[in-house]
């Protein structure tokens, strides 16, 4: 039995459809990320689950309970807002106690649970401070404690890390993931940051223009993107426009020819894609590989050192740029490439993606 279930959930504003027939089942204790560019409908979907926006069509269930038309205060969801929305006139403890108070839980029990929740987010010594006396990261943790203290059926997080700086964000998302799995909280996390989604979620829901493009584990959406949008949105991808020839290989618009595995039919294929880290470069002078079929002669254009990896931009004879990532740990430094050098680019047959 799924914990949260969306059936053809749609939101329309006049003629504008911002969320278009989204269907999704989320299991008990699962951590799901809604990922997409801004305006893709991910936040609207989250708000419909919280009850802050009512669905125009479709249904939403929490367990066996149909909550489609219920107001937010009858749903029992916990929500962490992007700006945290802490009550400025209440102390940290009063903020966290609010949900318990609304549920009529008696004072002594509420106090104990507030203490427990604050201990979970390591803020037990800040109970009597006001929100404005806390740092951004601390405020974020108060917002989290406030949303989980009353044991909601689902925890909803709307870009909760976007207001934090890069280092803190990394730390907080690790803590968040640990807390989530320890408490077994069913969680939906909205983000536009693919790294964040891939790092925290059990499953990622990629959205664009109100529609779900793909639902899958982080590995699935990265390695087997369902379409060109997902391939381009998640990670970096080299994409070649073209079509499948009669012989079964892919012919780019520039005239390069690549071998393809036949798991996908030729009909409707318009692009060939390969990830930068799948490509290896060989010194063009020593290489005897024949041109074509996944071994592509090219000229090095740019070499950018990026710490753990080196990004190399090469250009094919037809003028197409290709980005290649090389792990620095695997390469002796004397093997460095220089702009102008002739190389041959190749990749394993299974690395190719067709759209």
């Amino acid at each position: 039995m799924s914990q949260i279930s969306l059936q053809n959930v749609t939101k329309r504003y006049g003629n504008l459809t911002t969320v278009d027939r989204v269907s999704l089942d989320i299991g008990q204790g699962e951590f799901v990320a809604f990922l997409g560019p801004s305006g893709c409908g991910k936040t609207t979907t989250l708000r419909m689950i919280a009850g802050l926006t009512l669905a125009s069509e479709g249904s939403i269930r929490f367990g066996t309970r149909d909550v489609t038309d219920l107001p937010p205060y009858l749903r029992n969801a916990g929500l962490v807002f992007q700006g945290y929305a802490l009550f400025p006139h209440m102390t940290v403890a009063q903020n966290v106690a609010f949900g318990l108070e609304m549920r009529g839980i008696d004072r002594t029990q509420a106090q104990r649970r507030v203490q427990e929740a604050l201990a979970l987010v390591k803020l037990d010594h800040f109970a009597h401070r006001l929100p404005k006396q806390l740092s951004g990261g601390q405020q974020q943790r108060v917002a989290l404690a406030r949303a989980i203290v009353y044991e909601p059926e689902v925890l909803l997080l709307d870009e909760p890390l976007s207001a934090l700086d890069a280092k803190l964000r990394h730390e907080v998302r690790t803590d968040l993931r640990r807390l989530q799995s320890r408490l077994g909280l069913t969680t939906i996390f909205v983000t536009h940051d693919q790294d964040e989604a891939i790092a925290v979620a059990d499953r990622v829901v990629v959205m664009s223009a109100g529609k779900v493009e793909q639902v899958g584990t982080p590995r699935e959406i990265y390695q087997r993107p369902a379409n060109r949008f997902v391939a381009e949105f998640i990670g970096l991808t080299n994409i070649f426009a073209g079509s499948i020839e009669a012989g079964g290989s892919f012919l780019t618009e520039g005239g390069e020819r690549f071998a393809v595995s036949s798991e996908r039919g030729a009909a409707g294929v318009t692009a060939f894609a390969v990830r930068p880290e799948q490509i290896s470069l060989h010194n063009g002078l020593g290489a005897s590989a024949a041109p074509g079929l996944g071994a592509l002669p090219a000229t090095v254009e740019d070499v950018i050192y990026r710490g753990s990896l080196t990004e190399v931009v090469v250009r094919t004879s037809s003028g197409m740029p290709i980005v290649v990532h090389r792990q620095n740990a695997e390469l002796p430094s004397e093997n460095e490439l220089r702009p102008g050098q002739q190389v041959v680019a190749s990749w394993p047959a299974g690395a190719a993606m067709l759209f």
Binding site: P71, L79, A85, F87, F98, G99, A147, Y150
Partner: protein, 259 residues
């Protein structure tokens, strides 16, 4: 910059200081410098029933007008600040209109309206306390709406949404979260409502009757016949009352935050 500030400050304060000073002059005919100082004018003013009654009328009227303008203005502001409906702008302008219409015109118009009501219903309202109270509520309303709307717009709408998701019903969310945050604005609105009602002259001019004459009108009537420090004493009491109100409220609600 600093020079300008000082100049503005002096220009604002000079008349007030002059009036307070004159109220202590010994001479009946106001002349500089005074021959001595006395508190007699305050006693004199207190002994004149018209000042006492005028003061009482203005005080009652101010409190009542404030109460009515809050009762009407707070819900109106909530709708204006939150709602998205056709005609919202128009209603907003309409509620602020009394600020634009010259007081004497508005007063005359309101007087004629009350007379029409009398003709139709046969109930006298034009020179009664009821008529005045309605008029003063209208004087106060734009201030309440303006200040309360401004403070509502300053509240993060997510605060209310956070309260709702945590299980608060809309009214509880308002009482526990929105209200404490907008309270300074509401207090400022109430204070301004009271002050504009308390000092209003032009709009009340046509509407007062025997037994319902407000303090500013009593002052004007008195000034027609005599100019002596009694008037200065009455004005000083008026100034002191308003200043006390402002200072006390500022202590508790930090009025500066409402603007």
């Amino acid at each position: 910059m600093i020079g300008g500030c000082i100049l503005a400050f002096v220009m604002v304060l000079a008349p007030l200081v002059a009036i307070i000073w004159v109220s202590f002059f010994e001479n009946k005919i106001i002349s500089f410098p005074p021959t001595g100082y006395t508190l007699n004018w305050y006693a004199m003013a207190w002994e004149m029933p018209r000042f006492r009654d005028g003061f009482a009328t203005s005080l009652k009227l101010g409190v009542l007008a404030t109460a009515i303008s809050l009762a009407v203005g707070i819900p109106a502001s909530v709708v204006l600040a939150r709602g998205r409906f056709p005609g919202r702008e128009a209603i907003q302008s309409l509620l602020l209109a009394p600020l634009i219409v010259p007081g004497i015109v508005a007063g005359a118009a309101f007087y004629m309206f009350l007379i029409e009501v009398e003709i139709v219903t046969g109930i006298q309202v034009a020179t009664t306390f009821t008529g005045l109270a309605i008029a003063h509520s209208l004087i106060a309303l734009p201030w309440t709406v303006r200040l309360v709307t401004a403070s509502l717009l300053g509240v993060d709408p997510q605060l209310r949404e956070a309260a709702l998701t945590m299980g608060a019903r809309p009214f509880t969310a308002f009482r526990r979260v929105t209200w404490p945050v907008i309270r300074p604005g509401v207090v400022a609105g109430a204070l301004f409502s009271f002050v504009v009602s308390f000092v209003d002259l032009e709009k009340s001019l046509f509407l007062v009757g025997p037994g319902t004459t407000t303090l500013p009108i009593v002052i004007v009537n008195y000034l027609e016949w005599s100019v002596d420090p009694t008037i200065a004493a009455v004005a000083t009491v008026q100034i002191a009352l308003i200043a006390t109100g402002l200072i006390i409220t500022d202590r508790y609600f930090k009025l500066a935050r409402a603007f």
